[in-house]
Amino acid sequence: MGKITFIENDQTVHVAEFEAGSSVRQIAVDNAIPGIDGDCGGECACGTCHVIVSEGWFSKTGTLGGEEEQMLSMTPERTSTSRLGCQVVLTDEMDGMTVHLPEFQM
């Protein structure tokens, strides 16, 4: 069991609990976090689960796949620590992680 913090673009904070093995998108959807749509159901095919990972945590989230890179590249708000939430599988290492939500999902 761990905790993850979502910060909306207007700075509203949501803290959610997770079990290792779920994706960031799944936790966001289960907890009805506003600002994450996840339209494709976690298939890396819609780009609507974009999160911006806090600096210190980015390296713990694993590496970007080719498909993820391609979908992210279509998002105007992409940053150097952007990930698609459905492609980040939570581990105990990520307990306490903070992610920011973009102003818009594509």
Binding site: G41, E43, A45, C46, Q70, S73, M74, P76, F104, M106
Partner: protein
């Protein structure tokens, strides 16, 4: 003569690109019309332009599987598409039709399989076309919806700013005031056709804004787009006059080049560039010379007008049709207006304004127990995926608070996922917010008329009668 005509197309495109600096684009296209005419006399047409005559479509259960042809452009109009696709989903989810008027093609009809094909751009190419049939010969303009990476990615990124959410936030006020204006001008005492009065009018105004096209001439955008998407050879539509399409293309090329040159001149004179499409193209290094590549130039502008025209229009009409088929949902909406955003997604799922996108297999692919051969045409039937009972509960019901409404496939998935999705959602949300402010009821008083096409799922006529707020009988 596929190879011969291929090379011919190639030469044509290169010729046009090379001469574009000296010969105005619309003259080139008119020239092309005669060139193609001559070529037809020499080689015979590539595939004759079919003309479709409507006949009653048989009950799907009387047909052998191999005789099922879902490319029939009357399937939607005759209300037969549901049983046809249900049978394919259940009995032949990856189905081959050898003898359609558009040539042989595969149909993929289950949600999960469609998702797989749409995501796998390494296995399935979107080139050279995303419609089932061929466009009129010589008129295969280049658009990024029908390009593979890396070319697709470069072109998309140069234009997507025009409908980026940031830009849209600026536009919401404008969209709202126009929507209000159009709704306030509707006749309240007699039935009228909602399609031209509201759906076409609002989408036409939006397109003119996106392109910064002369506002009084905006009807032209709608007409070009309708004829382009309605070509008989491409989608089984009602337009079979190739000559007229060349004239349209020439007309369009002329208007768009003029627009481009005007903007160029205004910018040179020190005017700030706007947020319209042409200004964006001119601001980007990759596309600032697009005018010198006419087939691509026309292609990208066409893509935006076709992409944003029929689709949003038919969602605007389709929402009304849905509400009248499921009147309980309209009551639910009036009691819970906060459901509007979810309802918008449900309208887009239920209507599925574009029935499919086409791909070509780049290698042999096993799918659903079938072997799709390299080079085969593969049609992803979003209209069927959105009604797949394996994915959605009671898929044929219109349910405005459906939990997974956003998971619909009407916008496609993967790298070609609709670029205008947020704009479409915004336009529909504002439309329904403004409707609820003004009307207690909008009654569809006659059976709606549906268009002839295997691609566009829409309406030419939806006769309605309004009940202004506070005037409801009883």
């Amino acid at each position: 003569m596929p190879t011969l005509s291929r090379t011919f197309d190639d030469i044509q495109s290169r010729l046009i690109n090379a001469t574009s600096r000296v010969v105005p684009m619309h003259r080139q296209i008119q020239g092309l019309k005669f060139l193609i005419g001559g070529k037809k006399k020499a080689f015979g047409p590539r595939r004759p332009m079919p003309e479709f005559v409507e006949k009653p479509i048989p009950d799907v259960n009387t047909l052998a599987l191999e005789d099922i042809d879902v490319s029939n452009p009357f399937l939607y109009r005759q209300g037969q598409w549901r049983p046809y696709f249900k049978r394919l989903r259940d009995e032949a989810p990856v189905h081959y039709q050898k003898n359609s008027p558009f040539g042989p093609f595969w149909s993929v009809t289950r949600f999960e399989d469609i998702m797989f094909v749409d995501k796998s751009h390494d296995l399935f190419s979107a080139e050279p076309q995303i419609i089932l049939g061929d466009p009129p010969e010589g008129l295969s303009v280049e658009m990024f919806i029908a390009m593979d990476p890396p070319k697709h990615d470069v072109q998309r990124s140069s234009v997507q700013g025009v409908v980026a959410p940031k830009n849209l936030k600026e536009m919401e006020g404008l969209i709202r005031s126009r929507t209000g204006e159009v709704l306030d001008s509707l006749p309240q005492d007699k039935p009228f056709n909602w399609v031209p009065a509201v759906s076409k009018e609002l989408t036409g105004r939006m397109l003119a804004t996106l392109l910064d096209f002369p506002y009084e001439e905006r009807h032209k955008l709608v007409e070009w787009s309708d004829r382009m998407a309605g070509a008989a050879s491409a989608t089984g539509g009602e337009f079979a006059d190739e000559e007229a399409m060349f004239d349209d293309a020439a007309d369009m090329a002329w208007s768009f080049s003029k627009l481009w040159r005007d903007k160029e001149a205004r910018r040179a004179a020190g005017e700030e560039p706007g947020f319209d499409l042409i200004s964006l193209l001119q601001s980007n290094d990759e596309t600032k010379d697009l005018i010198d590549r006419p087939m691509e130039f026309i292609g990208n502008l066409t893509l935006l007008i076709v992409g944003g025209n029929d689709t949003t229009r038919n969602s605007m009409s389709g929402g009304l049709v849905a509400m009248n088929e499921f009147p309980e949902e309209f009551k639910k909406l009036k009691a819970n207006p906060e459901l509007i955003p979810n309802m918008v997604s449900e309208i887009i799922r239920w209507q599925t304004p574009l029935a499919y996108m086409r791909r070509i297999a780049k290698q042999d692919v096993e799918l659903g127990g079938q072997t799709i051969k390299k080079g085969d045409r593969v049609v992803m039937w979003y209209a069927s995926g959105n009604r797949d009972e394996r994915k959605f509960d009671n898929p044929d019901q219109f349910i405005i608070d459906r939990k997974d409404a956003r998971n619909h496939m009407s916008f496609g998935y993967g790298i070609h996922r609709c670029m205008g999705n947020r704009l479409a959602e915004l336009q529909l949300r504002v439309l329904w917010e403004e409707i609820l402010k003004r009307f207690d009821n909008i009654e569809v008083v006659e059976e709606p008329k549906r268009v002839q096409s295997n691609f566009v799922r829409g309406y030419s006529e939806v006769m309605v009668k309004l009940t202004p707020k506070g005037k409801e009988a009883g």
